[in-house]
Symmetry: C2
Subunit: 305 residues, 2 copies
Amino acid sequence: MRAFSDRLVEAIRSKGNPCVVGLDPRIELMPDFVKAGRGDLTREAVCGILSDFHEVVLDAVAGLVPAVKPQLAFFEQYGLGGMEAFANTVRVARERGLLVIADGKRNDIASTAEAYAAAFLGDAGFQAHAMTVNPYLGRDSLTPFVEVCKRCRAGMFVLVKNSNAGSKDFQDQRLESTGRPLYEAIARMVDELGRDLVGESGYSSVGAVVGATFPEEGRAIRAIMPQAFILVPGYGAQGGSAQSAAACFDERGLGAVVSSSRGITYSFGDSGISREGYVRSVRENALRMIEDVCGAVRNHSLASP
Amino acid sequence: MRAFSDRLVEAIRSKGNPCVVGLDPRIELMPDFVKAGRGDLTREAVCGILSDFHEVVLDAVAGLVPAVKPQLAFFEQYGLGGMEAFANTVRVARERGLLVIADGKRNDIASTAEAYAAAFLGDAGFQAHAMTVNPYLGRDSLTPFVEVCKRCRAGMFVLVKNSNAGSKDFQDQRLESTGRPLYEAIARMVDELGRDLVGESGYSSVGAVVGATFPEEGRAIRAIMPQAFILVPGYGAQGGSAQSAAACFDERGLGAVVSSSRGITYSFGDSGISREGYVRSVRENALRMIEDVCGAVRNHSLASP
């Protein structure tokens, strides 16, 4: 099997865009047709609603985008029925030829970090292609994920600079040792950890998360880790523009993927919308994002030195 | 219902010790009797092994300690069967009168953080009494957990200084703004966020995680957040002594709980041990830890000014 980064590059090229559809199950925001006739929200009903909803979304976007990003928190909030739907959603996405980035922001120490990596990337676990990882516990908490990525040809995206306003509280703190923000120290570690996992495409399967809401930081981080893939959330509903997101791409117009969740799956107007109407809305939202992001990335790489 | 911190203080007083048994399911380390006759490790078999194993452990320790700490990574690594066993384990622990700290080190932004809090602390979720939370995303990623703790009378433990060697990489970095390590800035935020959740006992339900492997840091952090409860992992198998762990307690000999996992559940010698022999071993291990920790805390509070 090829490296995750190479498969991601290939999928971006074949679909012609670097857009990722986020899957955030929130029953209260879903259209009526997927909820009708389910009765009480038992474990089975929840699993059915979430699984069916995502199957509709995945069918709608499978031909359009290279990857999807299920957000684990929104599955976990529904307990066991939610986690069962997560497993179903990953399976269906894989069957549709989509890459799956499990957004769980996990981390812990030593054997516990190994267990998280096995849980989401290993053959006996949920079998996503990549996952997001929190770096606060330091280098020895990241290396178990790197090892599993190497062994399973999987990918990881380390949180470097998040899209929320509060990311300034700790991530932006300048360190006495360098005079530079904490997130740059983390970006340097991502770059270093990823050197062993650079694929034929020239990109590493050890990537980073950088919010679309911070284009200046995005440019700086891009320069620190030229081989890392950047996962860029915060586009759309969170206020990041395609232009801002484009700052995380390199001069080849590659090296990043931009994700949107609510803007694709929950922007459909009336909750009484038909199944066909909903599918059309998801596809239109995705196509609008693709056009917007591709245009901005083209301008960005044309303007790059 | 009373505040989590008050229930924790009451449980510590009634059991006469501040020890927490960590539940880290690792089938390869379990005694044979719990695995015998299960056949292949299907989802059902995994769920059965993990649930039964923990029921034995919970029955053995319910009369001895105030709380248990299931480690989510080790459940998640077994996929859906593992998560089903997690739900069973929390339920049985509650039935046995034990407080449950879900160790998942979760965090994310805004509505996603809310979803994690609902997942582990809310009535529709897994219903632990408290959970561990990662602070890297900043203040606005912590406040949704604080809100849920307030509403559900639950507790949270924010990672401040972890027990692993690599925790020095970022947590120990001195900040330009203060000349002090990052973990102190986080401890100050924990103290501030917790002021609204101080119970009748004088302790807050917003606590912190500080590894037993760093007693000096423990003392400093204790002083910064006098009302926060500290969850102290790293005792035993990870090399932290009872004396080191005691540094996280206050002059009343309270304000912290010390957890041990492998030292209690997987230190039983021969894998062919009988069920009765295993129960005896778990109780002996727990009693040895209780004596060790209580002695060290007593000496610590006697020596405190």
